[in-house]
Symmetry: C2
Subunit: 286 residues, 2 copies
């Protein structure tokens, strides 16, 4: 290295500092964590970014089973394991599902689409076999742990995939047309696709950068919850602005984009009917 | 190694095989994945187990900030970041919160209790500042992405903690008395503690083993959802029976325990009122 800058003279190399700096774009915060002993798991998680451009290459044998083994190793509420995952690799089915989810191009292109299901139907079957009434399954409590269990599993899935050189992207738009999605994969009552996830080998020609997140002090509270400091939110707007310039994205403040995203019924892209949909399927009745 | 058993002669050592075998207790399935290239992230996730016995030792400086940096690196719906985390280290506050959560001993003992919050209040504040009505926040769609975002973040948190030699345990019982928990940490409307998590250095005197999960073919579906095969559920009952014998736990079939856990209102340990609670806080109105 021929880099003679004073900053490099002062600072020994630290993967912790580098990864934290990329995630927050805050030099002082990165410096505070510079001496944390680093490891492969932290590196994989801090380097996460959504991948939407894939090579036309099927997954190697055993990869799907390995990432789902990581998913099943995640915590689950009282070991109820109230989730399932449907792996879709058939091109025609993937195309139909893309049609229900804003026709996102990466759903067509990815070799694998995973649909994460909050699954109370399996607990219903077990309750029936055991001669128990399963009344708890109709409460919003059960829906919460189904969504949480599916989410824990999904997060381990994407971390596992990224650790193996794959990339992925969550597809919240699978909630845009929940009935059509459920019909396509034959879901029974008391289940719901919470989100999808595309998985594949990232196209190196379309590298994306790590997206900055809110300053940690906005998200992490000590002892009691504190309302967000507008100055810290403004600092994030500025960091996201820089990111958007670098990535040649449309320029809009994060706060403005965020406020629009939850503004009204139309902004929910079809998801304003989810309550009726869930109740028709026997969920969140009480 | 003096182990001359034929099984060891036939099989070269494989961390993948060993970890998958521990998670599923299925020799054939473990063999199928034996040649997967292994890494530290997979190893951390496959080795996950809940830790409920901690050394009386505070967290090293920077550890909390590092595991929350991993949490913030998780995916979040449309980058809305609809979650917060409250770190409780004050012993008296931890004791009061334990009192609301079945008085679990490890909440008292752990140096750190994290409370993961589905946080739509921050999005409310941003909407107000931007002059947008924020009507979307009252829909169950917004509650779903709040719960999912909090869960993605929490799963990265526990993986990060475990990669650094810490252990943790999710506390679903934080939903037993949601109003008391919210009051204790000053939560505003449009927020909810989805679950807690204790974090600390595991007491090596109380080692626990990896808990087996359902056979993968019960959870992973291909192309379309398939109802569970009773024979495969029975196979899991048998594996969980062996695990319970080894761990000197009370002997009850997993299916029986599971059916009881969702049997009726009483089995929900206070959580049958969550729907009213959420609506009073301005959540899941529509």
């Amino acid at each position: 290295m021929n880099d003679q800058s004073p900053a490099h003279d002062r600072q020994p190399p630290s993967p912790a500092r580098e990864r934290v700096r990329a995630r927050y774009r805050d030099e002082d915060f990165a410096e505070r964590l510079a001496s944390i002993p680093w490891n492969g798991a932290l590196d994989t998680m801090l380097l996460h970014r959504s991948v939407r451009t894939y090579l036309d290459k099927p997954l190697a044998p055993g990869i799907l089973e390995t990432i789902i083994a990581a998913a099943q190793s995640a915590a689950t509420t009282s070991n109820l394991q109230a989730w399932s995952v449907v792996a879709v690799q058939d091109k025609a089915r993937k195309a139909r599902l893309a049609g229900y989810a804003a026709n996102q191009k990466h759903i067509h292109d990815a070799p694998l689409l995973l649909l994460f299901v909050a699954d109370l139907a399996r607990l219903r079957a077990i309750s029936r076999d055991q001669g128990h009434p399963g009344l708890g399954l109709g409460y919003i409590e059960a829906f919460i742990f189904g969504v949480a269990d599916a989410s824990f599993a999904a997060q381990n899935t994407i971390t596992a995939a990224e650790s193996l050189g794959l990339g992925g992207c969550y597809i919240g738009a699978m909630r845009n047309n929940p009935q059509a999605v459920a019909d396509e994969i034959g879901l029974p009552d008391e289940t719901m696709v919470v989100f999808g996830m595309t998985i594949g080998y990232p196209d190196p020609a379309t590298a994306t950068d790590v997206k900055p997140r809110l300053p940690q002090d906005v998200v992490l509270h000590h002892e009691r919850y504190v309302a967000p400091d507008p100055a810290r939110i403004a600092a994030y707007d500025a960091r996201m602005h820089d990111f958007r310039v670098e990535q040649e994205m449309r320029l809009i403040d994060w706060t403005e984009q965020t406020a629009r995203r939850v503004s009204d019924e139309a902004a929910l892209t079809g998801r304003h009917v989810l309550k009726d949909f869930l109740q028709q399927r026997g969920l969140i009745l009480r």
